[in-house]
């Protein structure tokens, strides 16, 4: 089961026609279930575009992409796929400023049929596991950058996803804070046995992963 490919991509092409850009230029990639991989490359190389394809936030123009058994080239709404399979973490935490830490973590659960009590309980557990158990009723504006990113990690985990997609999660943090976040992600990967795909332009960050995929100009170079 653990050797099964959770991501299987062949000849994937994504163009931004108006900009005249080929963001993904024939990507071939397989990622095993439970793997921790990093995608490294300079800015503009297509890392975020690839991550968004895997998370079904956008659709490719050509090729094939299968994630958790779902064909993402189909023409349909993938919101329920994202809700069940994917947990996103962005460079900016993207929390809702007027909601408490706990409420922010519960947001993805509003799309499920979880009860109010279940939501509160789950958010509380997760916030404790990212060492924010005592901050769950704070609004994000009262918290540090690292604390906000930890809330975002808890939010990504709330619906028990099979894949965590983290796009430059330490990009807005200083290196000390960044290290804490990376360590937290590594622990979560091990404890939850979740597939973790980490996008970064920094080599030392990429090196935390089991495998590094390098990108350049929309192609995988190694």
């Amino acid at each position: 089961m653990n050797n099964e490919n959770i991501v299987k991509i062949e000849n994937l092409i994504k163009r931004y026609d108006q900009a005249g850009v080929i963001a993904l230029d024939g990507i071939n990639l397989e990622i095993k279930k439970g793997e921790f991989v990093s995608i490294m490359g300079p800015s503009g190389s297509g890392k975020s575009t690839l991550l968004n394809m895997i998370g079904a936030l956008d659709q490719a123009d050509e090729g094939s992409i299968l994630v958790s058994g779902q064909n993402l080239m189909e023409k349909k709404d993938f919101s329920s796929f994202r809700s069940k399979e994917i947990g996103f973490i962005f460079q900016l935490h993207n929390l809702i400023p007027n909601l408490t830490a706990s409420e922010n973590v519960q947001i993805p659960m509003l799309q499920t049929d979880a009860s109010d009590e279940e939501m509160v309980k789950r958010a509380s557990e997760l916030l404790t596991s990212v060492n924010l158990g005592n901050r769950k009723d704070q609004v994000p504006t009262k918290l540090s950058g690292g604390e906000r990113q930890r809330i975002a990690i808890a939010r990504a985990l709330v619906n028990h996803p099979s894949i965590i997609l983290a796009d430059e999660p330490t990009g807005a943090l200083d290196s000390k804070m960044g290290d804490i976040i990376l360590e937290l992600l590594r622990v979560i990967h091990e404890k939850e046995n979740v597939t973790l795909i980490l996008v970064t332009h920094e080599e030392y960050v990429a090196e935390k992963a089991d495998r590094i995929i390098s990108m350049m100009d929309g192609k995988i170079t190694s």
């Binding site: 947001i107 799309q111 939010r155």
Partner: protein
């Protein structure tokens, strides 16, 4: 957290913007309610004035008003009767020389489409012991309202020895209820004081028709007050009468009737125009507010999509927000609307209008505000639900 708590929290997130939207919708609701109260009130007041009371038109002899038709005036001397006097008889009476006879009155009363036809005899006299002229009217007690007569003090007359005085006459003669008045060789007891709102009529006095007929030695009446039954057009009834009785003519208060009716229509269409305009402005305010609210949250909506929210949930969020805004605004609007109209009425700017509060009107205002909330929210919500998540997340 419940979905509805999120909606409510979002509303209070940008207070000044929410307040702006609330004001917009509240003005809409207030205007609908306020204008509705005033126009419905006007219509009700006018309708009441038209239907309760006054006759639709008056039937008169054709030559009525022709000068000198009935011969010279008798010993009564000058008088200021408005119109109803001609001819003469007796020593102290100026009475109808030309009258409509009883059989004509009876047959008009039998005409289909006639609800009431009341004979009125008018004469001028003076009160014994004074030289003051007095307009004396003979009309049956139950028909008083047809001539716009309202007894404000005391009662109407019930027998041939009782009289009621117009307010001006009562003041001028210094007579009040219980006092006695001598006319010709008869003594009358004042049993009531009346008002018509018409200056000339309030200077007169009224006794029963048969009593005045006996006093003046006449059998007919000088005019007939006709009220058409419901569903009969007063205009066609009046022309039917003049066609049947060529010696009669009708003097209508119909022109007044129509004028007032047009007045209501003008007010109603004017208030509709204002209502539409207000709705338009309020609608634009809601749309603008929600559009701004959505565009400010573009990135956030991208995140909601990334964490698995579907289009329907995002639609519900935005429409929910605008519905809650609209509901708050409706309550405020209703209070403002009722308050403003009450204030106007109390300050006598809109004097004489009865406010017609009705459940319908309130429901209308509530409906309009909620409609504004939904419609104003739909387009922004649709836009939000259609946002491409990658675009939204790139947006700074």
């Amino acid at each position: 957290m419940k979905f509805r708590s999120l909606i409510i929290k979002n509303i209070f997130r940008n207070k000044s913007r929410s307040i702006l939207a609330i004001i917009g919708i509240a003005i809409g609701a207030a205007a609908i309610l306020g204008l509705g109260l005033v126009t419905d009130g006007l219509a009700a007041s006018t309708q009441q004035a038209l239907t309760a009371g006054a006759a639709d038109f008056t039937v008169l002899p054709s030559s009525f008003g022709g000068h000198g038709s009935g011969g010279g005036f008798g010993g009564g001397g000058g008088f200021g009767g408005s119109s109803a006097f001609n001819g003469s008889s007796g020593a102290s009476f100026v009475s109808a020389g030309q009258t409509i006879d009883q059989s004509t009155l009876n047959s008009i009363q039998q005409m289909p489409g006639v609800e009431t036809a009341a004979g009125v005899l008018r004469s001028a006299t003076e009160i014994n012991g004074t030289s003051q002229p007095l307009t004396l009217l003979g009309i049956d007690g139950q028909d008083l309202s047809l001539d716009d007569v309202q007894v404000t003090n005391g009662t109407a007359f019930t027998n041939s020895t009782q009289i009621i005085l117009g307010t001006t006459a009562a003041t001028g003669l210094n007579k009040t209820i219980g006092d006695e008045i001598g006319i010709d060789n008869q003594t009358f007891t004042v049993v009531g004081i009346y008002e018509t709102g018409d200056y000339m009529s309030d200077r007169g006095a009224i006794i029963s028709l048969s009593t005045l007929q006996n006093l003046t030695n006449t059998t007919g009446v000088s005019q007939i007050l006709v009220k058409a039954s419901n569903g009969t057009s007063p205009t066609s009834l009046s022309s039917q009468i003049t066609q049947t009785y060529t010696n009669l003519t009708t003097s209508t208060s119909l022109s007044g009737f129509n004028r007032e009716n047009n007045g209501i229509q003008t007010i109603e269409s004017g208030s509709w125009a204002i209502t539409l305009l207000v709705l338009l402005v309020a609608g634009v305010m809601v749309v603008a507010t929600m559009m701004k609210s959505v565009s400010d949250r573009t990135r956030e909506i991208g995140v909601l999509k990334a964490v698995g929210w579907n289009k329907r949930r995002i639609l519900l969020l935005i429409i929910g927000e605008s519905m809650i805004l609209a509901s708050i605004a409706t309550v405020i609007g209703l209070i403002i609307g009722v308050g403003a109209v009450e204030a106007l009425v109390n300050s006598h700017i809109l004097h004489g209008i009865q406010l017609a509060f009705s459940v319908n009107l309130v429901l209308e205002a509530v409906g309009v505000a909620l409609f504004l909330g939904i419609v104003g929210g739909i387009y922004p919500a649709y836009r939000a639900s259609r946002l491409a998540p990658t675009e939204a997340l790139r947006y700074e």
